[in-house]
Point group: C2
Chain length 372, copies 2
């Protein structure tokens, strides 16, 4: 696994259970996945990645940022890479992603590639005077995303593009009137088998996922079927291997539009660690090893995941265990082993049960023990 | 954790989830818990254990074999030890255990300490001409246990005792007419809190646990209450900290008799990894760290655990994954990372569901993929 963050860390329990030897190329010492880190190095350095690859059978990722050139070099060296470069391309470049999804006939917000303020102005005029502009590469968790109401609000980004010299464009999208956000996760093996978890509702705060409800309330039937169909079409259409997360907008007129893609385990799937027969981490391992996928049924009527963002103002998460565990004996805590820092995702809690109000209350109350 | 076997290995996922740094003193390289092994050394060597203890906050165990002298030295050095030496004594010496349980007024088979064939002959005469003789120390999984019908059948053990020179005795017990074997697991914190899982039924084959059904069928009510009371009485009576497993006989006249004790996670509790809100491994960590214990409710109506004994005649468990996973997508496989060898416990499967016949069938069928 390239990248030593919390996604790599949470792969460790699944690997230990299945007796799969996991090795991690971490960015620095002391990363979340340190226990499995067999090396530290820069994933943008070809020699580092190729040398790491010689110690493993299959390469997969904690993030989507390994350069295409290195991904292709891995394949040339004979190392299977899942997801492969041709799929990852669409997670690395939002403009290519939008074009591909449109080509696949999938519902997406109106969008355009824009190279200057004049083009942005035209898009704004056609879409009620407001839009979302995104840098095609490198953004996540709300970074590289700006809601604009005037043509000159992203002049700094146009300037950076011009200086970059690669002749790129920005992505502009209509500001979708959505009632809520959903996420559909699936996993796909190289040999083609696909398994879908139930669609979930995601709640964002400040551009960052704060809460996930699994399954999404009031989604059984049509919404769930459409969400699964969209994700399966994408997974097959661009040849994703491993876990694919599709972030969706549900609009006021009950349509689903594709927002973002991630080709790895995703925050919206953390509920599956305690709420599904097969966690997204185990499923990702099965998928990248081309093993038959596990059952994706739910273990409780409702599972709610609440992120621990920032953490306590002083001390560590573990300092709060005595109080939190005493108050919430059925809550499952996942601690990423990261130092608290404002806004940083350092853990999450999962709670399952029959009554959604009760489960939501418990998950929020438990998470609150870990934040000041 | 002292000892690098599968129990230490299965502690790793719980430690990773909770962000607890786990270090293992393993007996050799390449043990099951190698991922967390920070050292390799002899647990019977005082200096080795004391040096390891200086790198951790709390000491616990994968087995009960660390000598008393070393356990006390750890306490003198200021390292908390859970379970402590005064409790572990009763897991280390079956004669002391029998005496203590009798003192606590708990139901046990008739027993005696015997030093020669004549005493064994008297016991046999008083118990229908048959009995079970056990070496008080070092036996497990049926080792050091012999069913006898004549006074001279353990002369070799008496001879070994005499040569040992420490003046020990053997334990003789009545051969209990039991209808089945049960196991009751509880966890206890140093500060006194106790949590009990539901009593389970264990099925043995050739003196080794082969299958566990959780909860034990037809045990709700009186049997379950009595089993929990017995284990709680023992945990409190001898000051156990961490997980305590009490193996019980259910007799033809529906009494429960205490067979053996283990003061650590136990094979009869592996079902809890997938079948309980809190696995025995997470609970053991919580207990030895004196943190509030987690919920011990079941996640399914029934969970069945089947051991993988021996493994395939050639190749590894993972070689069978493709077929086993395809046939049983909801089965959870736990692979200890050990080489197959006749009779060796190298993994287990857990399956949960509503119908006991179906769950049992699935668990056995899945385990069969891993054995020739």
């Amino acid at each position: 696994m390239i990248g030593g963050g919390q996604l790599a860390r949470m792969m460790i329990p699944a690997a230990v259970n299945l007796g799969i030897e996991i090795r991690v190329l971490a960015e620095t010492d002391g990363m979340s996945a340190e226990l499995a880190a067999s090396g530290v190095g820069d994933y943008r350095d070809r020699a580092t990645v190729l040398a790491f690859a010689e110690t493993v059978d299959v390469i997969t990722f904690d993030h989507e940022h390994v350069p295409q050139e290195i991904l292709h070099a891995l394949l040339e060296q004979g190392t299977p890479v899942h997801p492969g470069p041709d799929a990852l391309l669409y997670a690395q470049d939002k403009l290519l992603m939008r074009a591909k999804l449109s080509e696949l006939g999938l519902p997406v917000p109106d969008w355009a590639a824009i190279e200057n303020a004049e083009q942005l102005g035209e898009f704004l005029e056609a879409h009620g005077g407001r839009a979302v502009v995104k840098t095609p590469r490198g953004g996540y968790d709300g970074k590289g995303v700006r809601v604009v109401h005037a043509a000159h609000e992203v002049d700094d980004w146009f300037l950076a593009l011009a200086e970059d010299g690669r002749g790129g464009a920005l992505l502009v999208e209509e500001l979708v009137e959505f009632t809520r956000e959903l996420a559909q996760l699936v996993a796909r093996r190289p040999s083609g088998e696909i398994a879908a978890w139930p669609v979930v509702e995601t709640v964002q705060a400040g551009g960052v996922c704060s809460e996930v409800i699994a399954p999404a309330p009031h989604a059984a039937g049509r919404v769930a079927d459409v969400a699964a169909d969209i994700a399966i079409t994408i997974a097959e259409g661009i040849g994703v291997t491993g876990v694919l997360a599709v972030e969706l907008f549900e609009t006021t007129d009950q349509r689903l539009l594709v927002n973002e893609l991630a080709m790895r385990p995703h925050n919206s799937g953390h509920w599956s660690q305690d709420g599904s027969t097969t966690s997204q981490f185990e499923q990702h391992l099965r998928a990248v090893l081309d093993l038959p996928l596990g059952g994706t049924g739910t273990r409780d009527a409702w599972t709610v995941m609440v992120n621990i963002l920032g953490g306590p103002a002083s001390g560590s998460l573990a300092d709060r265990y005595a109080e939190a565990f005493a108050a919430h004996p059925t809550v499952k805590v996942h601690n990423y082993g990261k130092d608290p820092r404002p806004g940083r995702k350092i853990g999450h809690v999962n709670v399952g049960g029959d009554d959604l109000d009760d489960v939501t209350y418990q998950a929020r109350a438990a998470a609150a023990f870990f934040q000041d």
